[in-house]
Subunit: 157 residues, 6 copies
């Protein structure tokens, strides 16, 4: 049983409703998942989490939508979050995941968890070629002008 | 060795510098931790994570600053993030943590990890009195007007 | 369903009853949580765990009671122990936690879990200033007298 | 430092060499990662793990190679296996991962770890629509013939 | 509720039935656990996992059967897999585990989880005597003949 | 680098020395591991942890010493505590663990981590026969006499 009330539309504050509306519009649905309803008792929190989700998971990106869902799902399985496993499998299916792909996914997650532990246990040292080779220079505020004004020339870092 | 370059002030883009400036001003310091420098190669990400950190950890809140650091630290120890354990212990000390309190903290984290496993293992069912007692009503979009317009009367939920 | 029987007062051994009595007295209650009843089938274990809990969580300390509960709770959420999450939220409320503080707590735990993974992933090296600077000297039993007798002069270390 | 010797080609048994050869051929490389060299002291184990890796990660499948690496990587970050994080990032880059995609990946893993904890903490009950709807029928060995002989008609299940 | 159908004998493909038969024969039982039935929708996966389980857990080995179950169980408790905790406790009892031993087991798992966190938190450096002392030599394919032919003399490594 | 000084014998308080002496006597050694030296800055904590370790790991029990070490080690690998993995492997070797048994152990831990995730992911419901069948009766303080006096007749529960 949830620790908080699952807020319904007619009970929600206008700030929460604005988020519900955005979710429904973004996802082309008239259904709001329980997790959003659970967060809705605190509209600023609801808004912050939805904004992140939209930014990271929905906005067009280099990684395709299904891949992004599978990454989120892999974390959720490893952390054993029941709700997340179910809701994100549902979302992944909407993006094209079928049973065959799901089985492949399951095997990778299982193998990775096994491989991780084998490797940790053997305390394998890292191959030279895997080290990115960045030399860590000490911090320097050189270039920062007094009172926060930016210097004239600034290169993109 | 970090997977990315630790960006220095004079190499940073103006967006990243804006964040560096804000960190230095907020924390009354002229030093930028390696984690922020590591994130600085991607200024939008740096900005998002710092904004969250400021909002959740720095903004005046009901929980006092030291308590908030100890919560963050408890998670970091449980997840075994070396960098986070060290940097947040440093931050906690700035908020008043001394060796005696640190020892108390360590004992709680150790006991909690033991207690969690004992409890999981015994599969103890939840006492009635711990259940919050919220009845989960099904979702209803009742109250949502056509085309996203909000109804005239709206109560805070 | 629990793996073990939840022992009731009239079924408990006198050693277990002594612990039940101590819990009820310490917490000013006549109710015993399921976890203690589950442990009661093995009175020495019950006694050991309660003794630790009392020592670490109840005894007056530098950290205040609510902070201690929140540390325990942060670990329990990260480990996803349902029973512990519920019972320790209940305990935290007894020490003054209200919904506003609870929301702040939730956001810190969520942010910390995200921050931990970002940091681990980037393999950020530890800043010099975060290193405690203790030089690890090799073990030496110097000062230990034969047959376990302690030397006359002993300084507190 | 590894718990075991990193076996070199000229020290390896013929069974281990057969695996080394297969790795080099499969990956079009003349380099063997430290993890395989660490496992090589026990050729049957080395063989078993490589066979699984090949089957699950290399064999043509519905999921594309980069997606599979990112799933493996998401698990490795969540479990904080340093070696695995580094070696599988290296592998992902070989399959086309660049810095922009890597940043997107990092943000998903961070967000998922936060989202998992928020959800666990709120103990959100699962929406009906996320339940797969399979009715669990009790086990029945009906159809199994005596002495292990299979019945004549068998449908694919 | 399972994400997949629990396959019954008469619905299973002949490949899945072959595995069911092997399980029943190996374990001298006519009952198939739900986990195998859940995997049976994908016979190659079912076969692979059962083959590993048989190889690692059932085949006569230096470690005795009960010890092997307790190792598996310790991992399952730490990962909080409800199904695994229950099914492997059941299996351990079949190999002689009784309540007294179970209590000892519980205490070790609890203590280890506490000890792990105390140690991580204190960032204790590793004692020299615990380092296995293997010098990691760089990879060399010396000894590998052209076109994959093995050299005449090969020593077991 | 440790967060705390590694205390040497001649710097330790008499309470800490008493624990050092007990460790050396119990383990028939003149060497104190770094973890105990790290804890020695706070003698009550050192004493509590050593007392638990002795009680749970050293005291003669139904489970044999090697099995107990392997349980502790399985937890430590799953939690990825480097120090613990190394020190408890060392201890296990003292109790008879050799390379062959170690390999078997590694395979079980890897398989269990994979099996756990496969099972969690499939959300397999628990077989009836694995449920212990205890009916959870509500708490009742019946039998508790006023002012904490125990009733005359008490049965062992």
């Amino acid at each position: 049983m949830a620790q908080v009330k699952l807020v319904n539309y007619d009970e929600a504050s206008s700030e929460a409703r604005a988020v519900f509306d955005d979710i429904m519009q973004t996802r082309s649905t008239d259904y709001i998942n329980n997790i959003w309803r659970a967060l809705a008792s605190n509209p600023p929190v609801l808004k912050r989490f939805w904004t992140q989700m939209k930014e990271v998971m929905v906005k067009p990106s280099r990684l395709d939508p299904l891949t992004k869902e599978l990454i989120y799902l892999a974390v959720s399985v490893t952390n054993n979050c029941d709700y997340c496993i179910n809701s994100h499998t549902f979302a992944a299916r909407k993006h094209g995941l079928d049973d065959e792909m799901l089985t492949e996914f399951n095997e990778i997650v299982a193998l990775a968890n096994a491989g991780n532990r084998l490797t940790m246990r053997l305390q394998v040292e890292l191959d030279e070629r895997f080290k990115p080779g960045h030399v860590a220079e000490p911090w320097s505020a050189k270039g920062k002008s007094a009172a926060g004004q930016k210097p004239k020339s600034s290169r993109k870092g």
